[in-house]
Amino acid sequence: MKRSIVTLTLAATALFAGCKHAQVQGPHPTAYGAAITEVSGSKQVAQVGATLPQPVVVQVNGGDGNPVTGALVRFRGQGLQFTPAEALSDASGQVTTNVQLGFQNGDYQIIAETWKQDGTANSLALREIALGFEQTLGRQVNDQYCIRCHDSESTPERVSNLDNLTPAPHQFTDGATLNRISDTDLLNMITRGGPALGKSPQMPGYASTLKPAEIKAVLSYMRAVADPPYQSPGVKYGK
């Protein structure tokens, strides 16, 4: 009995020491927010290992909906590196961090957390997309061929053709539609053109223009950037 009390005390001391240690490490919050929201920076697409082109900005708001200055925000996410990983919100209640993606291609999740006065955490999950070799190749092909019609954004070098077309092409980020079409159907459409699946002849077939690997890469890229994310039907296991 006596021994167990000693052990417990010891464990509690150790735990307490640990907690204290962790608190000392970060910046000390001078205020507490009730909610955390995204300002910008989610759903960015970059190559594996790259720093995201734009920083991720979140904002801490109080109970009254106004931004809170001096609230602690901590970022975490498996495989991700943040600079800084934690900071106090600035005068406009915002915290900005640069995010470096990890080794694996696919989706990454950023969790941004802030704490209320009572110690409970408010968190926000943001999605970022890392491209491996195949998706990067797909993006290159996309940027050269597909983007003109399949992206509504225009740049000085390239004016979007999307609005000129009826029926309007689907943007590759349009997961709600494209996720429902199977790999085989999409590959067929890219290879043989819209009419292969009874769609518009304005979508040409690329069988004689692109290599099969490039067509597969485009598909891989489309799947990677789909929003909502694409879930591969995959293999289901019994256990």
Partner: protein, 681 residues
């Protein structure tokens, strides 16, 4: 003990306790020492991972996968490349036999264009391939200083064999381009494994006649901080002291000699304040913005990055020089890429006024230089020589330095023992290269490398390109190297050639393997277009692509010049394999055209990208075809439709694999489209 007693003792006596203990200890020690090796083997990392793989596989995919699995060290052995990689001993699922394993070391290798056993793992990932423990394979150890390469530099692996542009490796491609365009290779020698030396592609201006162009005050402000003048400037910051900058500017002005341009008389305008609206029209219609950028009020750069940014050019250049430059740039600098516009006096006056108005009065407000003296000039010359300015710029009296900066041919494998790290740095090569590029002066005082203005992504790209310059690359068997494309040294000849050089056609147009990529390749232009159209186009270049912002400027050519160039293009730039007999004009009758129209709209949806009729079509991707019957030759059109990529590699136009009669009928239809250029809109 006597001898007798010894003899009487039985041969087998019971060992004493002490002997027993000794024997026991020795045997135990022997046993333990013998057991060390098998135990190490038994508790090895790879065995542990193979066991957990088998249990995972057993849970998920049952018997087959488990039964076919052979426990043991697995290795990729490629003797020709001295590759012995045992990574697969732990990473047993690189082929993805076990579907859906998301955690390392069991993840499937993502698809790449090579077989995994073709080059092994360490070829791209680095680390110690032959190691069989996690620590030794991935991290720096005492015996192995090359840890696993961070993911953002992985493309350097591709660059060890692929010496030109690699599809799917944008970072490597950008990095190599930056080595040329940021001027790194002016000072650093970088030789690729096939013997190609990387050449600069940044065109630093010669400073031989600099005093004509600008003031000493501007030079001072510029070399103190080039990016304060133009955010896009690639000239690095040498972090000069005020005195050094003053001396260098004194020397640069002192060394300047009169240029051939100074002998050309260009009349100063009568009116000192030109009409800026009219001037902006000349600036716009000359398409200056195709190459030069100007910051707008919102702070965004508008325009191309081919020539220097002009946001504050009025604070830089001398009015007299600018007039001569606009009159004919080659008079001042014969290596310039700027074309010789045939501006008249009024246009020159308008443009000069327009550009001089682009001023930033704060730029030189605080520059007050002491008058030049001989000491200052001499000190300036010494600084210019020591700083290696002449590695990039032509300067009178200073010879370009040779081997000015360390050779980077094998920088991707530099031994860490040869590397001096800055305090607090991680001791590995990628971090060192990164820090050297980012902040070269942080490594100690007295270092000469200046600070470049680069984004994080650009630094990653440059590091990737430099890491590809490895020992492994240098020792690759020659048959595995894939050299990059090399620019030819094609120059057009004769009168037309001289005219085309004067207009610097090849600054924008690629012709026979030499030139820029801003405008279409002209190597086969003569087969492609009709004479009447070409004459009209050169007289008044009108864009064919409604969506294009960059356009060919109007050079104000004389009719004689236009004829000379057109004749040359039409006879010299012919595509092989097609001529006027390629397609019989009789086959392009009205029936064929009617069928072609049907194909155009219904079967192939050409109107998705092309405008054949401005009233109904909206396609914005390809050139407008409303007047194509006047523009292209039937033979070219037919061949183009059959296989566009054969005539212009990399074109956006897909190959529809048309049958002969389909291509013929489409050609017939297109040849009926003879609306006046630009359509009716």
């Amino acid at each position: 003990m006597t001898d007798n007693e010894k003899q009487r003792r039985p041969l087998r006596s019971r060992p004493t306790l002490r002997e027993l203990i000794t024997f026991g200890v020795v045997s135990l020690a022997l046993f333990i020492s013998l057991a060390i090796a098998p135990a190490k083997n038994y508790f090895s990392d790879w065995r542990h991972y193979q066991k957990s793989y088998l249990s995972l596989a057993g849970q998920r995919q049952g018997g087959t996968l488990v039964r076919s699995f052979h426990t043991g060290i697995r290795q990729i052995w490629v003797p020709k490349l001295s590759v012995v990689d045992r990574c697969q001993s732990c990473h047993v699922n690189l082929d993805g036999a076990l579907v859906g394993a998301t955690q390392q070391p069991f993840r499937k290798h993502p698809p790449i264009p090579h077989q995994l056993d073709e080059f092994g793992c360490a070829f791209c990932h680095r680390g110690q391939g032959a190691a069989t423990s996690v620590e030794e394979a991935h991290y720096t150890t005492e015996a192995w200083e090359q840890p696993l390469l961070p993911a953002r530099y992985l493309e350097s692996g591709c660059g060890q064999c692929h010496l030109g542009t690699v599809q799917g490796a944008p970072r490597l491609n950008d990095g190599r381009k930056l080595l040329a365009t940021m001027g790194c290779v002016h000072c650093h020698n970088v030789v690729q494994p096939d013997g190609t030396q990387l050449q600069p592609d940044d065109d630093p201006p010669p400073l031989l006649h600099i005093a004509e162009k600008t003031s000493r005050e501007w030079i001072y402000a510029w070399i103190k901080n080039p990016q304060a003048y133009a955010a896009t400037a690639t000239m690095p910051n040498f972090q000069l002291s005020d005195q050094d900058a003053a001396d260098i500017s004194a020397f640069l002005i002192a060394q300047s000699t009169p240029s051939p341009a100074s002998r050309v008389a260009v009349k100063a305008p009568g009116n000192a304040n030109p009409d800026l609206t009219q001037a902006a029209t000349v600036y716009g219609s000359s398409f200056c913005a195709s190459c030069h950028a100007v910051q707008n009020e919102a702070g965004n750069l508008v325009g191309g990055n081919f020539g220097p940014e002009l946001t504050r050019v009025g604070s830089k250049v001398n009015a007299d020089w600018l007039r001569r430059w606009l009159n004919n740039p080659s008079d001042y600098e014969d290596s310039t890429r700027m074309p010789h516009y045939r501006f008249d006096e009024k246009q020159i006056a308008l443009l000069t006024g327009f550009l001089l108005n682009k001023k930033d009065n704060d730029l030189l407000a605080n520059v007050h230089l002491a008058p030049t003296d001989a000491d200052s000039v001499a000190r300036g010359k010494r600084l210019v020589t020591e700083s290696g300015c002449a590695a990039c710029h032509k300067i009178n009296g200073v010879t370009p330095p040779q081997n000015f900066a360390p050779d980077l041919t094998r920088v991707g494998s530099r031994a860490l023992a040869q590397v001096v790290f800055a305090p607090g740095m991680k001791h590995n090569l990628p971090d060192y290269v990164d820090a050297k590029i980012r902040n070269p002066r942080s490594f100690g005082p007295g270092l000469k490398m200046p600070k470049f203005t680069l984004t994080d992504a650009q630094v990653d790209s440059l590091t990737t390109a430099l890491l590809a310059q490895s020992d492994r690359a240098a020792s690759m068997p020659k048959e595995l190297l894939i050299s990059g494309g090399h620019e030819s040294n094609y120059h057009p000849g004769g009168d037309a050639g001289r005219l085309m050089e004067d207009l610097h056609c090849q600054s924008c147009h690629m012709i026979n393997g030499k030139g820029g990529d801003m405008a279409p390749d002209l190597s086969a232009e003569g087969s492609s277009v009709q004479r009447a159209w070409l004459l009209e186009f050169l007289n008044n270049p009108n864009t064919l692509r409604p969506a294009l912002i960059r356009r060919m400027p109007k050079f104000n050519l004389t009719q004689g010049e236009i004829n000379t160039i057109s004749d040359y293009i039409l006879s010299a730039y012919q595509a092989p394999g097609l001529d006027s007999h390629t397609i019989d004009p009789k086959a392009l009758g009205p029936d064929a055209a009617a069928h072609g129209k049907e194909l155009f709209y219904s079967r192939f949806g050409c109107n998705a990208c092309h405008i054949a009729d401005y009233k109904n079509d909206k396609g914005y991707v390809g050139p407008a075809l409303s007047g194509v019957g006047n523009r292209l030759t039937p033979a070219w059109t037919y061949k183009w439709l059959k296989d566009p990529n054969a005539l212009r590699p990399g074109t956006l136009m897909p190959n529809f694999a048309l049958k002969d009669d389909e291509a013929r009928d489409l050609t017939a239809f297109l040849m009926t489209l003879k609306a006046k250029q630009g359509g009716g809109k």
